[in-house]
Subunit: 189 residues, 2 copies
DNA sequence: CATTTTTCATTGCTACTAACAACTATATTT
DNA sequence: AAATATAGTTGTTAGTAGCAATGAAAAATG
């Protein structure tokens, strides 16, 4: 199973640009490890994301909303009543998709659209009391599950995990939203 | 396997940002910092997953396959030619969904269904040469991007991140697949 | 050995996700 | 006042996803 990497890296390995990317950091160790680190991180993240998506589908759907709907609800609760645009930015979704997600929440009675007096084109989406309640319940369940998951990690490990994941998320947010789309620079073969 | 992990971080983890978020104190029957850690982890993971999903949608779609299709292709390449059931297990998807994902890959020429001689009900799904090639290209791009992302992390941080994420993924895999669905025990207050 | 049951995969159905493009209505610029 | 830009919605198309029902082959049962 591990050997499957062969295809990816082994066969044509140093095909990439040699780690020219600002290895400004003195951390020697042969810059070669950046490639390896990136590959391993990529793999680990893939696993993590797939399994969490699965968990979320399974779990959130017990509560009458889908995963995306739940993310949206979360954003509504957290950021008090964003406009549709703000919401779509937060969720990394197109406005049209966001609008429909809001539709579904409204239909189910978890959110409502209220006019924005400052700008009559805009609306604000706010969670209803029922929406807040649902969100709190779901959140509680998910966190409960998270808790069981990390209960047997040492406290320092737990905290380090969170810190690093948060850092990675921050970096990813900054980078991925910035070079939006266009960056498909590599066009090889 | 839990025990094996235990020391993973013992050896090389400690000093990143020593910003310890307060009192990692007494574990009064489930209270205390475990709650906080779980909450923070939950939050950080949510951010990470959303931003990566966004990245993946943006990025993979340049290459004529969707995110799920790409995951499937990855599984095909990695684990040489699984049966449909194996594939659906790997992807945490229903067999019907998996079958349709395979359809799309077959239609695009990236995979083919071959009969399994051992069991004539079953099939094996194998990537075509074109499929392998596409996968390698996509993988290369994604890893390249990952590389840019973590290039300015210290090597130890990079490695710790990967290690912890992998560990979390492993734990999640084990737990979430095990208590499949049924565990929705908690019934709010 | 014939019958029941189980298993592997596919198809029908329904609902949701998601982007792009076209559109309406309001704001802002010129 | 007219041109342009922005906020949100709707139309369209493709893909995601699960559940239920089906067909076919294998395994278990009598």
């Amino acid at each position: 199973m591990k050997n499957a990497d062969e295809n990816i890296n082994r066969s044509g390995e140093p095909e990439f640009e040699p780690q020219r990317l600002e290895t400004a950091q003195p951390g020697q160790h042969g810059g070669g490890s950046l490639d390896r680190d990136a590959t391993e991180l990529h793999e680990a993240l893939g696993d993590l994301i797939r399994v969490y998506q699965f968990r979320d589908r399974k779990r959130i759907c017990y509560h009458d909303v889908s995963v995306t709907q739940c993310y949206a609800l979360s954003a509504l609760v957290r950021h008090g009543s964003p406009t549709l645009n703000q919401l779509s930015d937060e969720l990394y979704l197109d406005k049209s998709t966001t609008s429909r997600v809001v539709d579904s929440l409204v239909k189910k009675g978890y959110a409502s659209r209220v006019p924005e007096p400052e700008d009559r084109r805009a609306i604000r989406v706010e969670p209803t009391a029922k929406g807040r309640e649902l969100f709190a319940t779901i959140e509680k369940h998910l966190i409960e599950q998270e808790k069981r998951l990390i209960a047997d990690f040492d406290p320092e490990v737990r905290q380090a995990t969170t810190r690093l994941i948060a850092r990675l998320a921050r970096a990813a947010k900054e980078r991925f939203s910035r070079d939006d789309g266009t960056c498909c620079t590599i066009e090889d073969e």
